[in-house]
Symmetry: C2
Subunit: 258 residues, 2 copies
């Protein structure tokens, strides 16, 4: 249930072949506390009851098991409703403007409508596997803070030849936002270019990249099933697990030549 | 500026020694858009201007460079103010109850006051390096979805002998919340026990663990400087980079014997 099998193209030094990859499932779960819609988490679709209760505890919205009146899990709709005894819920958090932006790691801003209203990326650029391997090698070389501390993510904008903008940050969303912010402020075009990230490719990362009309996303890590689905729908080439001279092309492989 | 050097205890098969580790810096950045406090991001303290503009773009709150009237970066206070031309800001996001919970990955719920009001963990339990290595080996063995997909994090509650509760999730916060939710619903005590995580230990993860009065946190990955500082202040033993028969003890090493 947590794993989906999808067809991919696998590139190695010997050339390309059709293969099957296992990707992890990403599931939007909406938590309703005392009839108030609280948050939509993107999660793995297991232990939804435990996740909900743990989340409410961590956020200071539930202090003990004894205060839970009812938990209703509606898995098909992706909703968990929790009712607590009156006065339990903290009024410290809810509706606080400080945290009302839906921002940060982007988790709270998950809205299915985003995906539906996002335009397809139509770029006709292509890249060779050799170019991807060379770019990722350069990308890893530049990740100085990661090498020193192991504690950050990296992100880069590049064309098929070189890295144009590079950033590191403790957050994988922040690292990409730093790259895009620099592109905006320095008038660096992103169309027909590529983004490289050290982090996993979830639906949110994919949407962020689609908003900048970037046709190719390259990661050292794994994508989720929703990341793959959105990349397919939005015409984006998703390349993952680039390790040395091996990589997986999950979607829109027509842009990649061996 | 992004790296801090801190004294640690390094454990290997040969025993323990004093060493120095480099940890990445974690920095709370508050973004104010048109005089309204929007969000506090936890980030690496570089390119704050780029991060802010990229974030506003990704969240749909800024569409082009031409709409920026002013950017004021106040690094000492950790604040960036942005003023945009009138009508630019989307009213879709701000103050929307759905995303007003400060939840999800916990990023938005960063509040310095949380740390100040958090009680110290007073547990007197101890653990040997040998026990940590054995627990983490078992932890890795159990991470089936990670092994299959490379796309998830794991978390576990354990005592010095065995893993008691285990969870995997695409989010590192979610994985820990699943463990704590199960503890709450199944009345499994967390005092005098330990948490293992595959993910990095930031200040938010540390606070989450402190709330459950857990005295020892063990990670395969790196901590941030704020994670280390909070662990010191809250009396929590922070063990990181457990790889095979090596590990770093960052704080409160008196709980660990070789």
């Amino acid at each position: 249930m947590e794993i989906e099998r999808i067809p991919i193209l696998r590139f190695t030094e010997e050339g390309k072949s059709e293969a099957e990859a296992r990707v992890t499932r990403e599931f939007p779960l909406t938590i309703i506390l005392n009839n108030q819609e609280l948050v939509t988490l993107l999660c793995s679709p297991t232990s939804l009851e435990y996740l909900t209760i743990g989340f409410l505890f961590s956020e200071g919205l539930l202090n003990s098991r004894g205060n839970i009146k009812k938990i209703i899990v509606d898995k098909p709709r992706g909703v968990v409703q929790v009712k607590t005894k009156k006065g339990e819920e903290s009024d410290e958090l809810v509706f606080k403007p400080l945290i009302a932006s839906g921002g940060g790691k982007g988790l709270h801003s998950y809205r299915a409508t985003n995906a539906q209203s996002q335009a397809r990326v139509e770029s006709q650029i292509g890249i060779s596997a050799h170019e991807v391997f060379a770019l990722v090698e350069e990308f890893v070389k530049r990740s100085h803070i990661f090498k020193a501390t192991g504690g950050v993510h990296s992100s880069a904008l590049c064309d098929t030849e070189e890295i144009l903008v590079f950033a590191e940050d403790i957050g994988r969303h922040n690292a990409i936002d730093k790259v895009f912010g620099e592109c905006m402020l320095r008038d660096i075009p992103t169309d027909d270019r590529m983004i490289i990230t050290s982090g996993r490719i979830s639906s949110e990362i994919l949407l962020k990249v689609a908003k900048r009309k970037i046709p190719i996303i390259i990661s050292k890590s794994a994508p989720t099933n929703l990341g793959v689905r959105l990349a397919t729908d939005l015409g984006i080439t998703l390349i993952g697990f680039v390790r040395g001279k091996r990589m997986n092309v999950y979607t829109n492989g027509w842009r990649v030549v061996a």
